[in-house]
């Protein structure tokens, strides 16, 4: 079977699961998802997110922008062009930018500095709508993350700026805001809770963070596209009745740093597969 046929078969199976009844009981849904995840493990090519990772690899290697160069000289922290294992050590402090960056922020930076691309237009609408594929920066991030799959989160967080952003992330995680008075902690500071039928991870607890943080970027079945961590955070802010949080901002990097540090030692299995 070709790669495409395999994932199409899996996807068709998933749709048939989703459409097989008006409302599936939670247990059935969970069982279905477990079966789907197992299929994915047996055959990694059943995850459509891998197609986006492939696209990301091609985009990384393709000359683009006013300078017509590829991103292959981009330094993700382990030296120019070193991709294997780089994601496992992000976010980290980059001396050339004098700030802490996660994978998506670093790609934006390399696009600007190496390729001469002005990101401002892209940043007006950096995430895909329902059904549309993940955008280019997200696809590249998905590929980079996949090149750390099987490794453990090991961001050092020792540089003063890394410590500073970690403290900011912790503060933001607890901060209640918006007309609903929500904070990240409203949904993610207890075990075994759910919204409607959706289970919620206790993200400030290492044992639970380790299980889920490494699945992002993930193919999200309900959105039928890969969602990156920057996009996932925007989605939480949407629910909190906040506006569109800026991709690559200090605030989103701080939240990524906080989650990754809490998930330290947890295994990366990107791209993951979510409901």
């Amino acid at each position: 079977m070709t790669k495409q046929v395999r994932w199409l078969t899996a996807l068709a199976w998933c749709f048939s699961m989703a459409l097989s009844g008006p409302v599936l009981a939670q247990d059935d849904t969970e069982r279905g998802l477990d079966k789907y995840r197992q299929m994915m493990k047996d055959d990694p090519w059943s995850n459509p997110g891998n197609l986006d990772a492939d696209r990301g690899e091609a985009l990384w290697k393709k000359p683009a922008g006013p300078k017509n160069v590829s991103l292959e000289a981009c330094d993700l922290g382990k030296g120019p062009g070193k991709v294997d294992g780089a994601f496992a050590e992000l976010p980290r402090y980059f001396a050339d930018a004098d700030r802490v960056m996660d994978v998506e922020t670093r790609i934006l930076w390399c696009r600007e500095k190496l390729q001469g691309i002005d990101n401002s237009e892209f940043l007006k609408n950096p995430h895909p709508g329902g059904g549309a594929p993940v955008k280019d920066v997200g696809a590249i991030a998905t590929w980079i993350a996949s090149k750390s799959s099987g490794m453990k989160f090991a961001a050092k967080m020792e540089h003063p700026k890394e410590k500073e952003i970690l403290a900011l992330g912790q503060n933001l995680f607890n901060r209640r805001m918006g007309p609903f008075d929500f904070a990240c902690t409203t949904c993610h500071s207890d075990s075994g809770k759910r919204i409607r039928l959706q289970p919620l991870p206790y993200l400030s607890k290492p044992a639970e963070a380790k299980k889920v943080v490494g699945e992002w970027p993930a193919y999200r079945v309900s959105n039928t596209h890969v969602m990156t961590m920057q996009h996932r955070i925007l989605d939480c802010f949407w629910q909190m009745r906040m506006h569109k949080v800026e991709m690559g901002s200090e605030a989103t990097n701080a939240l990524v740093a906080f989650m990754v540090k809490t998930a330290e030692g947890g295994e990366i299995s990107a791209p993951g597969m979510k409901r």
Partner: protein, 209 residues
């Protein structure tokens, strides 16, 4: 025999370990001006009238600073301040239409950036966190179950008033509650809050069946 150096090294290791374990639990004093600035930058493209959403009011600041566990003195200040925000229907009738209340409890519409210009009334999204009627099996568990809420309380007048107040502003009863202040923050109207009170407290309501 342990030399002074090895003891020192062992102690240092212990401190490093303790520090790495404890970092997530630390309640380090943090200059919230830094998070004010970070949020302002992160939402710089939001419409001007959204700016007020970045900074919680005094109560939210107190709750955030204590991870929603204020000490007794702070809790008392919050309760008094939030109690003062509660407005009652002019005619004094607290119980509306439970069937309308059920629709409000189901709806998560309102105040998200995708909800402008508004096409529907705001919802309370009660089912996101609470169990209510027997028929609705898709309910969340962040809040307590509200099954048979009125029946358990024998539909008493005092509990009806307390239910209205908890929906209007839960912090008057439970300081630093996780629940939105539906009345005080102008999420729901007084009439909608009456309908939700009916959903909980009306003997006819499916919540009490």
């Amino acid at each position: 025999m342990m030399t002074r150096t090895t003891i020192a090294a062992a102690l240092a290791t212990t401190f490093v370990l303790a520090a790495s374990v404890a970092w997530a639990q630390t309640k380090a004093t943090f200059d919230t001006a830094k998070s004010d600035a970070a949020l302002k930058a992160a939402f710089a493209k939001a419409p001007a009238d959204w700016a007020g959403r970045l900074n919680g009011d005094e109560t939210m600041q107190a709750c955030s600073a204590t991870n929603n566990a204020p000490d007794a003195a702070v809790a008392k200040i919050i309760q008094e301040r939030e109690k003062a925000s509660i407005k009652y229907p002019p005619d004094g009738k607290l119980v509306g239409d439970w069937q309308k209340g059920e629709k409000i409890a189901q709806s998560g519409y309102g105040l998200r950036f995708t909800d402008y210009p508004p096409k529907n009334p705001n919802g309370g999204n009660c089912y996101a966190c609470h169990q209510l009627t027997k028929a609705e099996v898709s309910y969340g568990t962040i809040g307590v179950s509200l099954r048979e809420y009125g029946k358990i309380r024998k539909f008493s007048e005092a509990d009806t008033k307390a239910a209205y107040e908890k929906i209007y502003n839960g912090h008057a009863a439970f300081p630093c509650s996780l629940m939105p202040r539906f009345g005080a923050n102008n999420i729901l109207t007084i009439d909608q809050i009456k309908d939700l009170t009916a959903l909980l407290m009306s003997p006819d309501s499916a919540v009490n069946k």
